[in-house]
């Protein structure tokens, strides 16, 4: 019950903020209150259940479509919990970061909450069809949030985003239905127990559309065509969920569905998945380096670090898989942090062009310092969460695919180059514009949005066991079921 409650409380919140039309202040505080609830519940789940997230109290099963054995089946485990928690956290932060939105505020929050329902639902789904339903529920709110509150390019960006991911997910649905039909159930745990029950040929035929759909969502290069426009056009608070959670719907699908349920079908593709991961890392770093726009730079850096998830997943060993699961959360923390800071800087200076910025550290020490922290996180500096997961992904990847592992490690150097370059241009050096003299530091509301992310990056960097202890049993169970190491 508690899982279901966590998933659907935002839905009630969406209705509430729609009913409270008119009084903007009231809507804001109501949204804040609503968004806090799932986070508190997720925190409670973590504290009460620890590494026993498989506990029956957290799962629920209701008959939905009996004749096909499709059910409303939800439950948590370590692979999904990190993202479950992060979704709730980022939704709350997105509410805070929407403080400056004026137009149709209630509707914006309603869409945000609807998207939150989908995101929480995906990470807790234990049924393929339910997974797909939650996966898709995020689409329309995201489309409208970008399309209504984004910049001048928003319409084209929104529809591009929609078409890409809808194409992928419809193909994925066909794969899911085939898997369910051939196996006689859509229950993910049941399918996992008999992992690979289908013939190898059938598994491969199903794995192709499923991986295609999930990789579009990640997005893995070369399926990333939708990403830049959407990230750049979105309002900042949408970016927070867009980059923090949405790509993980894809990676989570790979970690939780594609590999565990179709082990033999995915197996021939694993080396290529690792290659894709490396391509993401290196391509992301190179292209980020060339971006004149700070937000675009963050977007490409985000593509790059997602590559480590693919590499870790493809390794199918305990170190790599744990790294991939951990990297989902770490990536969400740092990319949301960087997008928020880009928003703060752009709001102060009126530009996102890297060449027009400079010397901001003197005027805005807090924002500048946190930007440096985020950038260091993106490079994978020890002591920050990303280091842990990237290191593990590379270790695991190296064990399975030495060449790819080495190349991915090279990617870290590349990312250090462009991030340091960015920092040098944006916050260090002399003040580029005299007008920046009057620029103030991040305000209280803005700090409230960014500080928790920075804090978590540090906490998980120093105490990765907080998360790894939770996810390890689930990862081990998956690897045991599919016969990995």
């Amino acid at each position: 019950m508690i899982t279901t409650a966590t998933i659907f409380i935002p839905l009630l919140g969406a209705i509430l903020v729609l009913l409270l039309r008119g009084d903007e202040r009231l809507v804001r505080y109501a949204a804040l209150g609503v968004a806090a609830v799932p986070l508190l519940l997720a925190l409670y789940i973590y504290l009460a259940f620890g590494d026993n997230l498989d506990a029956p109290a957290l799962s629920q099963e209701l008959v939905w479509i009996e004749s096909l054995n499709i059910g409303y089946r939800v439950g948590l485990d370590g692979i999904g919990f990190g993202m479950f928690f992060l979704s709730a956290l980022l939704a709350l932060i997105a509410v805070v970061a929407s403080w400056d939105i004026r137009e149709n505020l209630g509707f914006y929050f309603a869409l945000l909450f609807l998207a939150e329902v989908g995101m929480l639902g995906v990470f807790a789904s234990r049924d393929l069809v339910l997974f797909y339903v939650f996966f898709e529920i995020t689409l329309i709110p995201m489309y409208l949030m970008v399309g209504m509150w984004g910049d001048e390019n928003r319409r084209a960006a929104a529809i591009k985003f929609f078409i890409y991911t809808f194409l992928g997910s419809t193909a994925m649905l066909a794969g899911f239905l085939a898997l369910g039909v051939l196996s006689g159930t859509f229950s993910i745990p049941e399918l996992g127990e008999e992992a690979g029950g289908l013939s190898r040929a059938a598994q491969i035929a199903i794995a192709v559309p499923v991986l295609f759909g999930l990789l579009i969502k990640v997005p893995a290069v070369p399926l990333h065509g939708w990403l830049l426009d959407v990230y750049v056009s979105s309002p900042i608070s949408t970016n927070v969920v867009l980059s923090g959670v949405l790509p993980k719907l894809g990676t989570f699908g790979i970690l939780k569905i594609a590999i565990p349920l179709l082990p033999e079908g995915v197996e021939p593709f694993l080396p290529y998945l690792a290659v894709l991961g490396v391509v993401n890392v290196i391509y992301g770093a190179f292209v980020a380096f060339l971006q004149p726009d700070l937000k675009a730079l963050v977007a490409y850096s985000s593509i790059g670090t997602l590559g480590f998830i693919l590499l870790g997943a493809a390794s199918v060993n305990a170190v790599g898989y744990n790294g991939a699961v951990f990297q989902q959360v770490a990536h969400g923390l740092y990319s949301a942090l960087l997008f928020l800071l880009v928003g703060i800087i752009a709001a102060r200076t009126g530009t996102r062009r890297i060449s027009e910025l400079g010397g901001l550290a003197a005027r805005m020490p807090w924002a500048g310092g946190l930007l440096a922290l985020g950038a260091l996180a993106a490079m994978g500096l020890p002591g920050l969460a990303v280091f842990v997961s990237e290191f593990m992904s590379i270790m695991g990847g190296y064990t399975a695919y030495p060449v790819q592992g080495v190349l991915a490690a090279l990617g870290i150097i590349l990312s250090a180059m462009y991030m340091l370059y960015m920092l040098a241009r944006v916050i260090f050096g002399p003040l580029r514009e005299p007008a920046y003299e009057r620029v103030g530091d991040a305000g209280a509301v803005e700090m409230a949005a960014v500080v928790p992310l920075a804090a978590l990056l540090l906490v998980l960097g120093f105490f990765p066991a907080l998360l790894i202890s939770v996810q390890r049993p689930a990862v081990e169970a998956v690897l045991a079921a599919i016969g990995g190491s």
Partner: protein, 468 residues
């Protein structure tokens, strides 16, 4: 018997129109609404009681399958009557219009029970002849008469195809009763039987606006009064899909390899034609007309899957798709009544009438197939049936369903973009619509959204129906 109830209410409405005079339009509409509701209740009652039986020497079957479609037909008729009441009342022709709606519904109800090919033909005619009149009903608009004319001519051609095909099949099998037809259709098909089958399918293809016989659709739906277009795009089509299922599965199971192949090809062509043409429309009504062509294609893909172990799933797909499509398309069409038919008239609707804009967005998203809205389950079931069929041609149909769903995104989402992301065209914006239409639109929006709650029972109903 729901048919008797419907016939009764047909008479009552007709007489009501004669005797009550022009002042009592509301009364007549009310009677029509009550009549359709009573027919719905009768069908629901029989379904709940598990009624099943055949009449007239096996030529007329009242089983779960038929009752299920009778529910869809009577429900859409009820909502059409509600939505049309004010409009029909204003023109002073409420009794006539309501009579036509009920007559079409009655034809459809008879059709879904027919197990006799000549009975099928008669019921098809009973369902379509009043529909020509419905299309041409709006005397004050020239397009209405034009659309009606076009519809009539193509409809008559279709009927002759249908009749000719039926006659040939009758000639081969010596009987029009489906059980006997099935006996006569042995392992090998005679050339005459194939010609008959193709002609009959062509006739049906006309009626469900499958390519290449779809060209009447946009003109008819554009000319027709909105409620008529909404109703005709949903109820008679569902009935025809139902009877087609019955004919093919009951009457010619041995010929399945032939007609599933034919259906797969028609389905693929229909999807592409419908979507590619819909993409080019700036008139929402025409866009929805072509979209209905595309949706016929999706349903026909389920027909193609009616082979091997996938037969039950295919039947379920047609049944669930019909229900899902009824709620979303009825709502989408009727929204035009409140807003206008040019795509531009939807501009900024969210600012002027947010609830209506959200309802329309729900219909558009449902037509695309976004879960958990109704259209998703229709498409998912077709895919489900298709992947279970084990035929390469059907896989191709499923793949083109996936591709076409994506192709349809731009035009459905064009409307959403106009409503949410554009500035309102004129100050004022669209006026307040009349209560009946608005009520139906919101009712359909709710049903479309909550469809997922009912899909389980619906599937159970479908798998327990008489055809399986």
């Amino acid at each position: 018997m729901p048919e008797l109830v419907a016939t009764g209410s047909l008479l009552v409405v007709l007489l009501g129109g004669v005797f009550a005079g022009p002042r009592n339009e509301a009364l007549v509409s009310g009677l029509a609404a009550l009549g359709t509701l009573a027919a719905f209740a009768a069908a629901a009652g029989m379904l709940a009681a598990g009624f099943s039986g055949t009449f007239f020497g096996g030529g007329y079957a009242v089983d779960g399958f038929a009752l299920y479609f009778k529910l869809i037909i009577t429900a859409t008729a009820f909502f059409t009557v509600i939505a049309a009441s004010r409009w029909a009342g204003r023109t002073g022709d409420a009794p006539e219009y309501m009579t036509l709606v009920i007559a079409v519904a009655l034809g459809g109800m008879l059709l879904v029970s027919m197990r006799d090919l000549f009975g099928v033909f008669l019921a098809v005619e009973l369902a379509t002849i009043p529909s020509y009149a419905m299309v041409a009903f709006d005397r004050r608009r020239r397009e209405s008469a034009e659309g009606g004319m076009k519809y009539l001519i193509t409809g008559v051609i279709a009927s002759s195809f249908l009749l000719y095909g039926i006659v040939l099949i009758y000639g081969v099998s010596g009987s029009a009763n489906l059980s006997r037809v099935a006996e006569a259709f042995g392992e090998s098909l005679s050339p005459v039987a194939i010609v008959g089958l193709v002609l009959m399918l062509s006739g049906f293809a006309f009626k469900v606006s499958a390519a290449p016989f779809h060209f009447w659709t946009p003109d008819a739906y554009q000319g027709a009064p909105t409620s008529a277009a909404a109703f005709l795009s949903v109820a008679p089509k569902a009935a025809i899909f139902a009877v087609l299922l019955r004919i093919l599965l009951d009457g010619m199971p041995q010929a399945a390899p032939t007609w599933t192949a034919l259906m797969a090809v028609i389905a693929i062509v229909t999807m592409f034609v419908g979507n590619l043409l819909a993409l080019r429309q700036s008139n929402v009504r025409r866009m929805l007309a072509y979209s209905s062509v595309a949706h016929s294609g999706y349903i026909l893909a389920a027909f193609a899957a009616l082979q091997g172990e996938a037969v039950p799933a295919g039947v379920q797909a047609v049944m669930i798709y019909s229900a899902a499509y009824a709620v979303m398309n009825l709502g989408a069409f009727l929204t035009i009544d409140l807003v206008g038919e040019e795509a531009k008239s939807f501009n900024g609707l969210f600012a002027t009438r947010p609830a209506l804009a959200v309802a329309m967005a729900v219909f558009m998203a449902a037509l695309v197939g976004i879960p958990p809205l109704s259209g998703f389950f229709g498409k998912a079931w077709v895919i489900y049936a298709g992947v279970g069929s084990g035929s390469v041609l059907v896989y191709a149909a499923v793949a083109s369903l996936v591709v076409n769903s994506v192709l349809s995104v731009p035009y459905y989402f064009g409307i959403i973009r106009n409503m949410f992301q554009e500035e309102p065209v004129s100050e004022g914006g669209p006026g307040k619509g009349d209560g009946g239409v608005a009520f139906t639109v919101y009712a359909m929006a709710v049903l479309t959204t909550l469809f997922f709650l009912g899909v389980g029972p619906l599937a159970a109903l479908a798998s327990g129906s008489g055809l399986l």
